[in-house]
Point group: C2
């Protein structure tokens, strides 16, 4: 018998992965959580049937969601991660010895529990002394907070289901308020290629731009996400990701990374014309 | 009835596209040629069942295989395209009024014939006065040629089947000889992500490096190719793609492009660490 996991990237495009062993499935109050072992990608976590993280390419996503901001401001001390239940974002942030506090707010405790049991490659640092786990709604968590965090990372699913509130103007405004004067907001910003993702990218970008004086978008190659061409948003009160970036300073930290480097840091902000037009015209 | 085209990106990964109408199939002396109309990607050409070109993302491939070299040396006058039977590479090159001659050598006349009939979006400039079509083996075509072309573009399939000879040291050496002193070789250089593609990337790169004093690799986002993360090789006798690149000069030409721009030109050469290590360690 052959077992295949199939994801619909659009209603007319399918991506399939051969499954070696089906390990775990459970319905939480928020979504269906599945974990399986695959031949090509090792362990895979899906939420509501959509690829979230896998052993083979998670390094790309987690390098790019963390190091661009950390390298722009190596003095970051307090970090808030919203979502990111697999733990990969916390793992990368925890590598910076200068970071004093990492608050992670994940709405779905089941994701964290299953990651601790099945996805050690991402969840290994969730027990770091600096990490505080909150199983709450990230939207509510940031309400009323003022100038607390140097960095907020929105490591969310798509804006359907539990992730929806993390793509609203009100939420972005609350993030702005919760950030210190040199604060940075990084958010999972969808993909420009298929219409359904591009629509969300444009909407989210427009909202963030209306609040933050600096708002840029950078790209990365993510083989198991639809189209492979994905974006993060970089929004900030003061620091510019390229003008204020000191490559030597980051290199002096001596962190080994498999995807990120100081050239990619700059190169990732060079967007194709069709993506620039999409963002600028809106 | 639902009709789906399925490509095996590896033996454990499948990519499927819903077919609106199946238009054409024929076996040539070299390969099987298929053309269909899809919902998501418009017209699609496959060779031996592998995605070659489609209406939706061909602009990415053809922008990146042509404009990086043309912008590095806007004085290019004679161009040789090897492969590229769909015509998209010739279409982009023909936009430069300074180009005087475009020789295209495609081993399989059937690909060109079917592209002229079914793929007007790529084949539209094959009747340009400056274009000479040769239906021959590109490997033999370059043998013995000396200092004729300012640019050779190897727009090939994977190194299996008819494309195999285009990945040999002897062929690269013949290209070197056929190039003028400021000559540039651009070649389809596979993908770093899945082992089977990465192996070919490393092998081709090693060979080219042994012949050309300047040998670099640059990346682009190609949604319908395996993993979406693809590379071109840029090899040259004298000109460096970044140090000798004059962004203002290219911009002054006023060419409209949907993917390429002068920031991408530079950014595309910023490779992830794992790709750099793959190429450098070999």
């Amino acid at each position: 018998m052959e077992l295949w996991y199939t994801e619909e990237h659009t209603e007319n495009v399918r991506f399939g992965i051969k499954v070696k062993e089906y390990l775990y499935t459970k319905q939480s109050d928020f979504q269906r959580v599945d974990i399986f072992e695959s031949y090509e990608f090792g362990r895979v976590l899906t939420l509501d049937g959509l690829m979230m993280v896998n052993e083979k390419d998670e390094f790309i996503y987690h390098d790019m969601i963390t190091h661009v901001a950390m390298a722009t401001n190596p003095d970051i001390k307090k970090v808030l991660v919203i979502g990111g239940g697999d733990g990969g974002t916390v793992r990368e942030i925890s590598r910076y010895l200068s970071v004093e506090q990492i608050d992670m707010v994940e709405i779905d405790e089941l994701v964290v529990k299953s990651a601790i049991e099945y996805l050690q490659f991402t969840s290994s640092k969730l027990n770091d002394d600096r990490v505080n786990l909150y199983f709450e709604d990230g939207v509510k968590f940031v309400e009323g907070k003022e100038k607390i965090y140097d960095l907020i990372i929105v490591d969310s699913t798509d804006p359907i289901g539990p992730g929806e509130g993390l793509f609203t103007t009100e939420f972005y405004q609350n993030c702005y308020n919760a950030l210190t004067d040199k604060g940075i907001l990084v958010n999972q910003n969808e993909s420009p290629y298929y219409n359904q993702n591009a629509k969300e990218l444009v909407r989210a970008n427009k909202k963030i731009k209306s609040i933050f004086p600096i708002s840029e978008v950078y790209q990365y190659h993510m083989p198991t996400y639809p189209s492979g061409h994905w974006l993060f948003g970089f929004a900030s009160k003061e620091l510019h990701p390229i003008k204020d970036f000191d490559a030597k300073k980051w290199s002096s930290l001596g962190l080994k990374t498999k995807y990120y480097n100081t050239d990619i840091h700059v190169g990732a902000f060079a967007l194709p014309n069709y993506v620039k037009e999409m963002i600028e015209n809106d």
